[in-house]
């Protein structure tokens, strides 16, 4: 229990209109636990209740039924909030502040001050590649720059739990890659990360645990490798094998396994290709 950062037990949320008539059942009786030190991906199609679940975990909306615990406490407890960083689905920054002021503001809200806050701000601006625009107003930023600013703001208090609602939305592939690297780096430092996404490739790259939401229910949940590995299939990779040798190996394997053997060429991922091409052009 102690190494469980977030736990949901039978949580439901029904949105109601002004007259208290139910409008949508966004989340329907889900239970899950986010172990400490994991990168937990909450996946699902649009409208499946990912953001709603996150808002309940943060205590921004109250569940209609069920129990939510954040660090073993009710979500809006002061010392739970001190250990939390949140990146909302839409960045929601103050357009009239500069990137630096935005980070200083969030740092101050989180209880930092003085020299510590200034240093933390400067290092985060560098980490998120915003140092050169640190004193420009956020309102003039591109979507990706604003997203990175919001991410930096979420990180400002060195949280133990980072809740990211679609962290890569609006980012170009290079920005996406940078965010993924940042997530991996944070995870290696022991930060627990709970993220939602419907970009499966991204989640596959960084997550250690996955839960798939559909229609407000959890359709699948567990460690990524367990969920994804086809344990009955084996893959070999070899360089520069001649067609004749391929034929020989294939028939040998077919004889051994007694089933069909598939031979193909792996293609580089578009992300790698894109990154390499842009790097070369620059």
């Amino acid at each position: 229990m102690n190494d469980c950062v977030v736990s949901l037990e039978g949580v439901s949320k029904t949105f109601r209109d002004f007259w208290m008539r139910p409008v949508t059942k966004a989340v329907d009786g889900i239970s899950l636990k986010v172990p400490r030190g994991t990168v937990f991906g909450l996946l699902g199609p649009n409208g499946s209740g990912k953001s709603t679940t996150i808002k309940m975990i943060l205590g921004l909306i109250r569940p209609t039924a069920g129990k939510v615990l954040l660090f073993g406490k009710p979500p809006q407890a002061r010392d739970a909030l001190k250990r939390l960083g949140y990146l909302p689905e839409l960045s929601r920054l103050h357009p009239f502040l500069t990137a630096r002021e935005t980070l200083m503001y969030h740092g101050a809200l989180a209880g930092l001050s003085g020299r510590l806050l200034r240093d933390r701000t400067a290092s985060l601006l560098a980490d998120t590649a915003l140092a050169h625009v640190a004193d420009r107003r956020v309102g003039t930023f591109s979507k990706g720059m604003a997203r990175r600013t919001a991410l930096a703001a979420a990180l400002v208090a060195s949280p133990e739990l980072l809740v990211l609602d679609e962290p890569t939305s609006g980012l170009d592939p290079i920005g996406t890659r940078a965010v993924k690297e940042l997530i991996r780096k944070l995870a290696s430092q022991g930060v627990t990360i709970l993220m939602t996404s419907h970009l499966l490739a991204d989640s596959q790259d960084v997550c250690t645990h996955l839960a798939i939401l559909a229609n407000g229910h959890i359709a699948a949940c567990g460690e990524k490798d367990e969920l994804l590995q086809k344990t009955d299939t084996t893959r070999f990779s070899v360089r520069n094998l001649s067609p004749a040798a391929q034929e020989a190996v294939k028939s040998e394997m077919e004889a051994l396994s007694g089933g069909e053997v598939v031979v193909d060429h792996p293609s580089a991922s578009l992300e790698d290709f894109f990154a390499k091409t842009v790097e070369a052009a620059e």
Binding site: R78, L109, A110
Partner: protein, 409 residues
């Protein structure tokens, strides 16, 4: 609190509210002296200059504070940023308090500009306390009159069922407004109990009129503590007679004009006692205005938290207009006692609005400063304390609780 103050201040400064406010204040003071026209006396020019410039700044502050406070919270609410603040370990009330400080700093700067200009731009005249002559308990007098009337056998039965409270307050109001006549050669005595202890020089002030309200040559003498002072007055309807320091509070006034003098013993007679420098009075006035603006700012924050920006601004302006109109409507319709129920409900509501907003809408401190009046001790302190320590916190707490609730992400 400091963080949210800084953000709010940047919003106002970069959004243009602060520069516009300060420029408009400076422009007002630069233009006004050229616009002031009076019948000539330096005192009248001085009075009008002070009144117009401070009243204009006050009106400006009223609108700017309400609108900018409303848009401060409404912009946060419309962009759903309160939710982000709620994921931080801060309490919403302190966020609101920080936001409140920003328009208040702007208002303070505008008032400071105004005060500095007034200190340099107009002649300094010490302020004065105003003491009214003592009189018996007007309510008790009215009560006994009614009792006598009811007891009389000639009083018709139908009249005995009258609404006693209403008649009472009507009688007292009438008594306060009633003019007395002082015929030529006649003498009247007033008792200024509050003066009896202080041995200070003072000024007797009487606002007078003759039968036709024309300008005439008023003459007379004032006896005070054994001394006798003669006066003549041809320029103004306000007679001011300087009196020496003396023990005792009894003043005798004799009309030596050829015409009768009309005056109200409650409203038109006063003894003026030195009340400190102009600068001190100016400071007190500015603090009082600032506290009132504090209430308006807190109200604006509350409205912005409750409804969206455009609705809040529109409602704010509508409220200002309604509170400007309310006292006039009440005065014009005061005799609707026997009107239909809907009219009476409407009038009651208008009365309520007028009463609730009277402090904001009729800036008495400005009036007092212009006419060199120093309020009684404790009045200002009480008002400022109630505004800043009671009303503002209540409104801010309400705003905070609404911001927590309304801002569903």
């Amino acid at each position: 609190m400091r963080a949210s103050f800084l953000v709010a201040w940047r919003y106002l400064a970069r959004g243009g509210a602060v520069p516009i406010l300060l420029c408009a204040t400076a422009l007002l003071h630069w233009l006004l002296p050229g616009l002031v026209r009076t019948d000539g006396s330096a005192e009248a020019v001085r009075e009008l200059t002070i009144y117009l410039s401070l009243a204009a700044v006050y009106a400006l502050l009223l609108i700017v504070s309400l609108v900018s406070a409303a848009s401060l919270t409404a912009s946060e609410r419309d962009a759903k940023r309160f939710a982000i603040a709620r994921t931080r370990p801060v309490c919403m009330a302190s966020v609101m308090a920080g936001k409140w400080c920003a328009p208040m700093l702007a208002a303070g700067l505008a008032l400071a500009v105004s005060a500095i200009w007034l200190l340099h731009g107009v002649a300094h005249e010490n302020s004065r306390y105003m003491l009214r002559p003592g009189h018996g308990d007007l309510y008790a007098m009215a009560e006994s009159e009614i009792d006598a009337y009811l007891a009389a056998p000639s009083t018709p039965e139908a009249l005995k069922t009258m609404d006693r409270k209403r008649v009472l307050s009507h009688m007292v109001a009438r008594e306060l407004e009633r003019k007395k006549v002082l015929a030529p050669g006649e003498t009247v005595k007033w008792n200024f109990d509050a003066l009896a202890q202080r041995k200070v020089p003072c000024t007797l002030q009487i606002r007078v009129a003759n039968e036709y309200g024309l300008k005439t040559d008023f003459r007379g003498k004032v006896k005070f503590g054994g001394e006798c002072v003669q006066f003549t007055n041809t320029t103004s309807r306000i007679i001011e007679v300087a009196l020496p320091a003396a023990a005792g509070g009894e003043v005798e006034f004799t009309n030596e004009s050829p015409v009768a003098i009309y005056y109200s013993p409650y409203r038109d007679v006063a003894l003026l006692v030195d009340g400190g420098t102009f600068a001190a009075n100016l400071l007190r006035t500015c603090v009082q205005i600032w506290a009132t603006i504090g209430v308006v700012t807190a109200l604006g924050l509350f409205m912005g938290a409750a409804v969206s920006r455009n609705v809040a601004v529109f409602a704010g302006v509508a409220m200002i207009v309604a509170s400007l109109a309310a006292p006039q409507i009440v005065e014009a319709q005061n005799d609707l006692a026997k009107a239909r129920l809907p009219d009476r409900i409407a009038l009651g509501m208008t009365r309520l609005v007028a009463a609730a907003t009277s402090q904001v809408m009729a800036p008495a401190p400005v009036d007092d400063l212009a006419s060199r009046l120093r309020q009684e001790d404790g009045v200002l302190e009480r008002q400022v304390a109630v505004d800043i320590a009671v009303i503002c916190p209540i409104l801010l707490l309400l705003a905070a609780s609404i911001a927590r609730r309304r801002d569903l992400p």
